[in-house]
């Protein structure tokens, strides 16, 4: 039987309406909130987030560290102000004790001060870098990765293994895209390569024709820092313009996610990407996760599904360490930042800023059993948000952005 959100809402809806008054902490069920996006352009990732979390709870028979779980789901529609409002609703009306999410960076930033004020335990999916760097939020941990955490190892791979020397970077014109390209180009140039062109098309541009027309072809590769569907639209258009044969694309963590991959064709074969997850990771937890997910939903889990499944595992194992006492927030945060956890993405731990340290996988698209998958071809273990740079020096620099580190080798 599938646990659906509606079931929970029906059960708790009446209680929620009545509980406009503060309630006392109890050793009864724990209240978990999921802040996601279920309408609008980010909906597909958000829906996956919910599905994977529901699956985890089902597999765990809805019990974490000996306590029953009540799940409350909030939909922000991808609008940061609404995300904040919904988070407030989850905290003030539904009295959640811990939140998984939000999905997008802007929502995380919008809710930052509220998380501090409410001291809300947060296991985030969003990649907003500074929340675990220069303005660390003591209640915020992130089990996925920062924007650049996966891009930096890929740059290393491109320079040292793929022996690329000249590259182009392109990403959506949003903070996430800027941060990814910044990390990529810094490591690539430190390893001796040159980034000779960068492009940041607007997030909602209908057509990449202009950008493709400007693309330099005397390069070894192009790094795609797109999110959502843009990566695969760009690739298809690259193919139509005959550019796939001339310039080798490599992708960031969301460019060729499993969710997008299943709608692609042969033009995706052989493309190398990096991510903290792949449905093809060979460990027992992941095998079970992927098998069950595929049975329930008909497709492989990708970035967003794995995100909540991982966070749920972290939540579970942390709570077990502190005897299920989610009410003890300080103990929870201490336990999270001091343990190692076994998850579907491999073993992870958290650095002192609350960001995850774990494996980053280099994957290649191949056909298996008639469908496209991201096969793992190389693993970088123990990658932190700072790559090989020293944290203190890293943090002295401004946050990664469009203009930092400066692109010194651009050719016009």
């Amino acid at each position: 039987m599938r646990f659906t959100r509606r079931k929970f809402m029906q059960a708790t809806g009446a209680a929620a309406a009545a509980s406009a008054f503060p309630s006392f902490a109890q050793a009864g069920p724990m209240r978990l909130g999921l802040m996601t996006v279920k309408t609008g352009p980010l909906a597909s990732g958000g829906i996956d987030m919910e599905r994977a979390l529901v699956q985890y709870l089902k597999e765990a028979k809805n019990t974490i560290a000996g306590r029953k779980v009540e799940l409350f789901v909030g939909d922000s529609g991808g609008v940061p102000a609404q995300s904040r409002t919904k988070t407030q609703e989850l905290v003030e009306r539904d009295r959640i004790q811990v939140m998984i999410g939000p999905l997008d960076t802007a929502s995380a930033l919008a809710t930052d001060d509220y998380i501090r004020q409410a001291q809300l335990l947060t296991l985030s999916v969003a990649a907003a870098e500074d929340m675990t760097q220069r303005k660390p939020n003591p209640w915020f941990t992130r089990g996925t990765s920062t924007s650049s955490q996966c891009a930096m190892p890929l740059a290393d791979y491109c320079a040292k293994t793929l022996k690329m020397k000249r590259m182009v970077v392109i990403a959506d014109d949003i903070a996430y895209g800027h941060e990814m390209c910044a990390g990529f180009h810094r490591v690539f140039e430190d390893a001796g390569g040159k980034v000779v062109q960068r492009m940041f098309p607007p997030l909602t541009v209908p057509d990449y024709g202009t950008y493709l027309a400007q693309l330099k072809t005397n390069v070894d590769g192009i790094f795609l820092g797109f999110a959502g569907s843009n990566g695969f639209r760009y690739l298809r258009q690259m193919n139509e313009y005959g550019l796939l044969k001339k310039v080798t694309p490599v992708g960031g963590m969301t460019a060729l996610d499993e969710a997008v991959l299943r709608n692609m064709g042969d033009e995706a074969l052989g493309i190398v990407t990096s991510c903290w997850y792949s449905a093809e990771i060979e460990n027992a937890i992941n095998k079970r996760f992927v098998a069950n997910f595929r049975v329930d939903n008909g497709y492989d889990p990708g970035f967003y599904a794995a995100a909540t499944y991982t966070e749920a595992a972290v939540l579970d194992q942390t709570l077990q360490k502190i005897g299920g006492r989610i009410e003890d927030k300080q103990a929870f945060m201490k336990a999270v930042r001091s343990g190692t956890f076994d998850t579907c993405r491999g073993p992870v731990r958290f650095d002192q800023y609350g960001n995850v340290v774990g494996n980053i996988y280099i994957r290649k698209v191949e056909r298996k059993d008639g469908r496209l998958v991201n096969r793992v071809i190389h693993t970088y273990p123990n990658v932190s948000q700072f790559w090989t740079y020293k944290p203190e020096e890293f943090l002295k620099n401004p946050v990664y952005s469009r203009d930092f580190p400066p692109y010194k080798n651009l050719e016009s």
């Binding site: 909906a43 209908p206 057509d207 569907s229 639209r233 139509e240 313009y241 005959g242 969710a259 709608n263």
Partner: protein, 255 residues
């Protein structure tokens, strides 16, 4: 027809999604475009008959109801087709790049340009050279007189709406290989359509064509030369034209 119709973006998107589904059974883009166009046309005609008809000249009501319908369509599409973007396969024949005068163009985009020109011509001929077109124009200019002369104005209006919706729906499928079907497609397309119509002038086909051309050119070149001002450039032609000529380039009346 002087109806403030803000559902058009959603009709485009609906057509794209329907095309996706049709192509799962009949993998032919053109047939899918036809089928989707027809389905969306029927929907549009129903909308006109059942809802818009009652509103007469209530422009605000039209705005409200057409936006409301577009919300419903957008959410229904999300419900039925899910949140992931779904591509439409380019027809195999048109998948390769074409060399013209040393420049490379994807064959499919050239085909789309050709289709657009043909459709524009057909519409123009329809409106200007046929009796049907004359009746439609009469019905718009002066519904009472046209009715007095025996022109079935209300049936014609439904027909026009039918046609407009058909074009939107088919357009969604034809645009599919380039844009894919995804949630938010309606919100991306609607401002573009509005800009083009207003710039070109309400009530003029030539205006729509000219508006599309100008907007497309200025935007594409502008984005290449001044990427930071992408949004400004999109709206600039329209702002300039309307500020100095409120009826648009070829419009018959100030909107």
């Amino acid at each position: 027809m002087r109806i403030a119709n803000l559902t058009h973006g959603a009709l485009f998107m609906l057509g794209a999604y329907l095309g996706v589904s049709v192509m799962r059974y009949v993998p032919n883009l053109w047939l899918a475009a036809l089928a989707a166009g027809l389905a969306v046309a029927v929907f549009g005609a129903l909308l006109e008959r059942l809802v818009l008809r009652k509103l007469g000249g209530n422009v605000l009501g039209q705005v409200l109801v057409t936006l409301g319908v577009s919300f419903i369509i957008a959410d229904a599409c999300l419900l039925v087709w899910g949140g992931d973007p779904i591509p439409i396969q380019t027809p195999a024949l048109l998948q390769r790049p074409v060399q013209i005068a040393g420049f490379v163009f994807p064959a499919y985009r050239l085909a789309v340009v050709a289709i657009a020109v043909v459709v524009a011509l057909v519409l123009f001929l329809l409106m200007e050279k046929t009796r049907l077109g004359a009746m439609i124009r009469a019905g718009v200019d002066d519904p009472q007189m046209a009715g007095a002369v025996g022109i079935p104005v209300s049936r014609l209006f439904t027909t026009v709406f039918f046609l407009g919706a058909a074009l939107a729906g088919a357009g969604g499928v034809i645009g599919g290989p380039i844009m894919s079907a995804y949630p938010g497609l309606d919100a991306d397309m609607l401002p573009l359509a509005l800009i083009v119509v207003i710039l070109g002038g309400v009530g003029s086909l030539l205006g729509a064509f000219a508006g599309a051309f100008i907007t497309g050119f200025v935007y594409t070149f502008g984005v290449a030369l001044l990427p930071d001002l992408a949004y400004v450039i999109l709206f600039l032609p329209m702002i300039l034209v309307i500020a100095f000529r409120p009826r648009g380039l070829f419009g018959k009346f100030a909107a």
